[in-house]
Amino acid sequence: MDFGFSPEQEMLRATARKFLENECTSGFVRARMEEPAGVTDEFWAKLAEQGWLGLVYPEEHGGSGLGFVDLTVLMEEMGRVVMPGPFFSTVLLGGLAIREAGSPAQQKEWLARIAAGRARTTLAWTEPSARWDAAGVTCAAREDKGGFVLNGTKLFVLDAHLADALVVVARTGEGKTPEEGVSLFLVPKGTRGVEVKLLPTMDQTRKLCEVSFKDAPVPADALMGVKGRGWPALERVVERATVALCAEMCGGAQRVLDMTTDYAKIRVAFGKPIGTYQGVKHKAADMLVDVENAKSLTYYAAWAVDENAPEAALAASMAKAYVTDAYRKVAGAGIQLHGGIGFTWEHDLHLYFKRAKSSEFTFGDATYHRERVAQLINL
């Protein structure tokens, strides 16, 4: 047993820390918040150059063939600077779905391009019902002339406005369970009948879209995997993306804790640094416990998905439930301990606070995942 990071992973962390501190400054993030794209071509090219866009893809497809524990290191660092842009949607949603469910041809076509920074993708899954279960998939894929026709509305789709291809979760039929009949389609940009609308969001570092399909035709080979059997692959993708999200959240929470302890050391009230007061000390200690526990569960989940361990789903839900609460609490305490300054637009704390909130409701909140844990431990 060795439950720490390897020297290579520590090196990746150091590299990422340095790169992001230089390239993804608060000024860069704020500029991206104001723009629809949320990323610059230059920055995206540099991510590709670092090899991070293909980090978890096989080497045969231009990736580095690394695992989720490695990715965890990177995600923590990205969370630390609330990195904007379509990394998460491209690499962890669209790309991973192609990796998990795509045909060899689809993988060959897309993964290398993603890794090289030449294509962006995302996952069009949730609908206006905001459900995370298979019953929430109502978008219809009707067979027609050897291909399919898509109809329906997807909501909360990350970065769809930037995507060169969408992985669309649609229903090709009804079965005994809601899971049966769910299929995945790879739909390239520009497909007729597909409309993408960017929506203003609270967390401006995350761009969300509405994607509507009106009799949108897709060819037969757009189908990923077996018709009506797409749900298990989707679950695997979401499980992995959830773990990556948790890692990103851990990094953000750690940064808030760092900012807060730094501030508590220098801000003076009643003649002493505020960090002298137990009111501040005890809150800071609680924050540390939350952050460390969040990391422990996230690292475990990363290891479990890497190993394809049978408890991977449980590990992912445990992590998401805990990390969600932890980041929300830590970000809230960070603002509180900063006082008025923490409530200003100028201070970076709100970027973390809002990211914590948007992450909370991505792939299910803590209550949802606790109930999942209850199911998975057979309560």
Binding site: P200, Q336, G339, K357
Partner: protein, 396 residues
């Protein structure tokens, strides 16, 4: 112990109710959350407050000779409740009515008392509060804005921050240091500052909601006449404290009723939204949270009633008056968090998204609610005060 009203009080309530029914502006749209006046509503709210003034429904407890009605806190409470039930707009000159007016009535010269209070009530003159400074947050008394005597004038230099309404205010309640050589509480003076004086600069301060509800205010050799001192030179700390006590009580009434409105809005929201295909109000876990908020909100009403009873009896308010703010903050922040939880992914959609629920009002009020535990004394400071003043625990 009796929560019912006298026939006279019932009649007063009925009068208010009837008046509200026909006088709430048609353009006013209640938003289902605790409301802070927003810039785009200022004109409407100014007219609204003036109408309240004309009808005699503001400044109820102030002396008649200074524009008030000379009534008791009971009528004030009834008024607040009726306004809440009618989802009436808030008062725009909230700091003038809640703080400046009562302080001037308590400490002012006869001339000051004739000059200011009535125009506060009518909203002819809006007031802002110049207490907080960048380097004196919780430790208010360590403020550094200086006032130096020069003939009949005081010359002010320094900076205030978190000044709501500064950009639309005619006057500021200004605390400035007039004697740097005595202990910090003893060298502060309270000024009634004309915001149009040369050297006053107001700079909006953007907050995490993206709006600029607050301002920074800079003073560059601002010359204030000595007649604008309130309550005597170097007596500003005592004068300022009056205001704070009064603020907590009267704002308290309003806060509870607005919280109740927000809660009803939240329950409406919960009835409309679904989680995993089930209406939120039917989810046992959410029912627990909603019920707890209901209890906490109602509780504030009865704690308030206990405090008012003491006031009406001419006694000093007890602990129940001071715990109110803390309990309100905690309840309101939980309410706003729950709104986010109920909306789930929809909570991420900001105003302007056509999919945003209720126009995106909840995410915005959620963000705004984070300041509740900071503004008007952080929760940490409130707890220190409660522990020291009410429980007699020793100072550090």
């Amino acid at each position: 112990m009796d929560l019912s009203l006298t026939p006279e009080q019932e009649a007063f309530g009925a009068t208010v109710r009837a008046w509200l029914k026909t006088n709430i502006p048609r353009e006013w749209k209640p938003m289902g959350s605790s409301e802070i006046p927003r810039a785009e509503q200022y004109e409407l709210l100014r007219r609204w407050q003036h109408a309240l003034f004309d009808a005699g429904f503001i400044g109820l407890t102030w002396p008649k000779e200074y524009g008030g009605r000379g009534l008791t806190f009971m009528e004030e409470l009834i008024l607040q409740q009726e306004m809440a039930l009618a989802k009436a707009p808030p008062i725009l000159n909230v700091l003038g009515v809640g703080m400046a007016g009562p302080t001037i009535v308590a400490w002012g010269t006869e001339e000051q008392k004739k000059r200011y209070p009535a125009k506060i009530l009518s909203c002819e003159e809006i007031w802002c509060q110049g207490y907080s400074e960048p380097n004196a947050g919780s430790d208010l008394a360590s403020l550094q804005t200086r006032a130096v005597k020069d003939g009949e004038y005081w010359v002010i230099n320094g900076q205030k921050v978190w000044t709501s309404f500064a950009h639309v205010s005619e006057y500021m309640m200004l605390l400035a240091r007039t004697d740097p050589n005595v202990p910090k509480h003893k060298g502060i003076t309270y000024f009634l500052l004309d915001m149009k004086l040369p050297g006053v600069t107001v700079k909006p301060l953007r907050q995490i909601t993206g709006e600029a509800e607050f301002n920074e205010v800079f003073f560059d050799n601002v010359r204030v006449h000595e007649s604008q001192v309130l309550g005597g030179v170097n007596n500003g700390w005592a004068v300022g404290l009056t205001t704070l006590m009064y603020e907590r009580l009267t704002l308290g009434f309003g806060l509870q009723v607005r919280l109740r409105i927000a809660l009803e809005g939240l329950i409406d929201l919960a009835r409309r939204m679904e989680k995993s295909g089930r209406v939120v109000t039917k989810d046992p876990v959410m029912r627990q949270k909603l019920a707890q908020l209901w209890i906490d909100t109602e509780c504030l009403k009865y704690t308030g009633a206990r405090a008012i009873t003491k006031l009406l009896r001419g006694e000093m308010p007890g602990p129940e008056a001071s715990t109110g703010k803390m309990a309100w903050v905690d309840t309101h922040q939980r309410l706003q968090e729950l709104a986010m939880e109920i909306e789930g992914p929809y909570s991420q959609l900001w105003k302007g998204s056509e999919w945003a629920v209720e126009g995106g009002v909840w995410p915005q009020s959620f963000l705004r609610s984070r300041a509740n535990s900071i503004e008007g004394g952080t929760t940490e400071i409130q707890k220190n005060i409660i522990a020291e003043r009410l429980l007699g625990l020793p100072k550090d």
